[in-house]
């Protein structure tokens, strides 16, 4: 990149929790978390009131309750958050078409080409925050920087309702005093190794000896040093299509191999393939995610020839993957099972044999999808996915 870019990272503050507090005044000021409340529940979002107790998103609900016994937990309303998110993204698009959503509540905006129209990047950031507040009564934190890496770090520096600008002339030293784990890609293991070498702040990483970095990062050593200096050439990819589509379920009771597990697998396949078909996509790869009772996670995947979105096709692949894994882990108890599709391709290649369409039992799947769209996801399921004990 020869010209300097202006990138915004906009991150909604405690998004799900803030939406709930906005809609239900009795929750305001309360130590609120959004998430499943069962013994297996996980915190999906934590309000700022509850964060004081050390409660964070992705924490098991049991742990959250231990840290803050008086916490208030509400069930997530994903469809509602989705609708609010669409409002927010509409605002982003008023400033630039180059919006790359990372999740419902987070996006990169490349406003380099919008400066003549709306003034400085900082002015655009303020306008974004104002419009979000006016139209949704929610607050957002924004980082402004010459690239995605630094913008994302910046948005997190002054939460909630923050605005942090890092200018090109502030680099490479702008991140120096931050803890080294703000650099993406530094996980627990790498962090421990960095600490062994006395690398705690970003500046330590930026100025570390070549040999040290190579020992820790291998062939990514140069990349790591560049990141510490705030160098990142990745473009903002507008409205990126879905990279993968998946569904997973944490079981109330750990499941071993058997009919119940097969039913769960089919249900997850149905959820995944329905979403694929809704988007006119086919999966080139099918994954099965398995988490055992001791929290070890496995993923197994299979390439689909041709790509598929039919319930039967994906189920056949998923069943084989799960079966192979179970054969190698006899007696294993599963805590979580997930099914996903990736290497997504638009369903554009026409098929020679209509009734053998790789998109599956097309007519049946489509008709079933329509019934579900009208009467809800549970209105129609395959008999195989039902529990005979409960329906008998």
């Amino acid at each position: 990149m020869t010209t300097t870019r202006q990138i915004l990272h906009v991150d909604m503050d405690a998004f799900y929790a803030s939406v709930e507090q906005r809609d239900r005044p009795e929750l305001r000021g309360q130590p609120l978390v959004v998430g499943g409340d069962g013994s297996r529940g996980v915190v999906a979002a934590a309000s700022y009131e509850v964060r004081r107790y050390g409660v964070r998103s992705a924490m098991p609900m049991r742990e959250a309750r231990r840290r803050c016994p008086q916490l208030v937990c509400v069930q997530p309303r994903m469809a509602h958050y989705q609708a609010v998110s669409e409002q927010v993204f509409e605002i982003f698009h008023e400033f630039t078409p180059t919006v790359e959503g990372l999740s419902l509540d987070e996006a990169f905006l490349d406003v380099s080409a919008s400066l003549n129209l709306f003034g400085s990047a900082e002015a655009i950031a303020l306008s974004v925050k104002d419009r979000v507040r006016e139209r949704t009564r929610l607050s957002a934190s924004v980082g402004v920087a010459p690239n995605k890496l630094v913008a994302k770090i910046a948005s997190d520096l002054d939460k909630p309702d923050g605005l942090v600008v890092i200018r090109p002339e502030d680099l490479p030293g702008a991140l120096d005093e931050l803890p080294v784990q703000v650099i993406p890609g530094i996980g627990k293991v790498t962090l421990a190794r960095l600490h062994e070498h006395g690398i705690r702040r970003v500046v330590d990483l930026r100025l570390a000896a070549d040999g040290t970095l190579e020992a820790i990062f291998g062939r990514f050593a140069t990349r790591a040093r560049e990141r510490a200096g705030g160098v990142d050439d990745r473009p903002v990819v507008p409205d990126r299509a879905d990279k993968s589509i998946s569904a997973e379920e944490t079981f109330a009771v750990d499941l071993a191999d058997g009919a119940e597990l097969q039913r769960k697998l089919l249900q997850l396949v149905e959820r995944t393939t329905r979403r694929l078909r809704d988007r006119s996509l086919m999966a080139g790869t099918v994954q099965v995610k398995i988490r055992t009772a001791d929290f070890t996670t496995f993923t197994r995947q299979k390439t689909m020839h041709p790509p598929a979105a039919g319930t039967d096709q994906v189920y056949a692949a998923a069943r084989q993957l799960l079966g192979d894994w179970l054969a190698g882990h006899p007696g294993a108890k599963l805590r979580l099972l997930g099914v996903g599709g990736s290497e997504l391709a638009p369903a554009t290649q026409a098929d020679l044999f209509g009734q053998d369409d790789p998109r599956g039992n097309d007519k049946l799947d489509r008709a079933a999808d329509q019934v579900r769209a009208r009467f809800g996801a549970a209105s129609l399921t395959r008999a195989r996915s039902l529990d005979p004990e409960r329906t008998g």
Partner: protein, 365 residues
């Protein structure tokens, strides 16, 4: 069992069969080859339970017998011995010794009785045909076979015999290749079998294209006797789609083009097509074809090719690889492409020749 032979006499049959010796063994004995010494012949058998290969070698047998030994190790030993070396192989107890010059090796064995072999395949009739004919059928169609498709019956090659011809058809559901060769000689039975992909590729590797071969079609197996080697494969138990139905008969919009010119233009345009979906747009006008491709980086390629065409104006998208595969299999200087409309299959072939047909379904671009 005890026999001796020159290194090369053993190496050639071992190399011929090694392709089906399992690397990832589900049964330990499948990593072994079966050695049967009888008369002045040694038969070496390898199998992966789907494809069985039996190769024979001229050896001098001192004591007949049969045993199985690790296939890859035996091959590696023979390969590593010096050219022209004389090799003596003898069984003693549950070991087999290999001696050559000052080298001596002792291999573990497993009982021959436990080695799975296919004996009689219950074929009604044995057909003799030139090896070149079968080699041609496979060469012209194999690239259209499906790979690991859930429609398991597509993961192979359809071999169809009729009274005067033999035909091969392969399809992955997006495109289809058909090739047939006329046969003179005796009347053949009418049969349809699906040979699994792995067997087809193994067979292709074994055929030299010279001489004759004997073909037998059983209810569950196909067996082909080549010189010095016998190939047997299980068949795919399934119904191949009614492929005749998807070959378009309508030739109203038929164009003729120079095959190499069209191929070159497609190859160049393909460079800037989407790497994954390989979509390319053809715009057909009277006398010319425009080829267009673009990729997610917004780069574009465009090329014009002169064609003989008087049909309707049509714009149609294809996976360019399918067109290139077909053009690579056709041998004539000119090629015809028949199109119905943007949503229907098209067919490529040599002008005036119905023995090879390549059907491709379009892409919606």
């Amino acid at each position: 069992m005890k026999f001796s032979a020159g290194r090369e006499a053993l190496l050639k049959p071992l190399q011929a069969v090694i392709g089906v010796v399992e690397r990832r063994q589900t049964m330990p004995i499948l990593a072994n080859v079966l050695l049967v010494a009888r008369g002045d012949q040694l038969a070496i058998t390898a199998t992966d339970l789907e494809v069985e290969l039996v190769a024979s070698a001229e050896v001098s047998v001192e004591a007949g017998g049969e045993v199985t030994v690790p296939g890859r190790k035996l091959l590696d030993i023979c390969r590593a011995l010096p050219d022209g070396a004389e090799v003596a192989i003898a069984q003693s107890g549950d070991k087999v010794s290999i001696k050559s010059g000052r080298s001596k090796f002792t291999l573990a064995t497993l009982p021959a009785a436990e080695f799975p072999t296919v004996e009689d395949i219950n074929a009604g009739q044995r057909i003799e045909l030139p090896q070149g004919s079968l080699a041609r059928l496979i060469e012209k169609t194999h690239f259209s076979m499906a790979q690991q498709d859930v429609r398991y019956y597509l993961n192979g090659l359809l071999i169809e015999t009729a009274s005067k011809h033999i035909r091969a058809v392969a399809t992955d559901g997006h495109r289809l290749a058909l090739c047939q060769v006329e046969l003179d000689g005796g009347k053949m039975p009418e049969k349809q079998v699906i040979v699994p992909r792995k067997g087809v590729l193994e067979l292709q590797r074994l055929m030299s294209g010279e001489g004759k071969l004997g073909l037998e079609l059983g209810s569950n197996h196909i067996r082909i006797q080549l010189e010095g080697i016998r190939f047997t494969s299980k068949l795919i138990d399934g119904r191949f789609p009614e492929y005749e139905r998807v070959i378009p008969k309508d030739t109203a919009n038929e164009l003729t083009a120079d095959r190499q010119v069209l191929r070159g233009a497609l190859q160049r345009t393909a460079i800037l097509s989407n790497e994954k979906y390989r979509g390319i747009r053809l715009v057909l006008r009277s006398g010319s074809m425009l080829l267009q491709a673009h990729n997610p980086e917004q780069e574009e390629a465009e090329e014009e090719v002169e064609i003989q065409y008087e049909g309707s104006d049509i714009e149609i998208g294809f996976n360019v690889n399918y067109l290139l595969d077909a053009l690579g299999a056709i041998e004539s200087d000119e090629v015809t492409l028949s199109v119905v409309d943007a949503n229907s299959s098209c067919v490529l072939r040599e002008p005036g020749n119905d023995n090879g047909k390549y059907v491709v379904m379009p892409m919606r671009l």
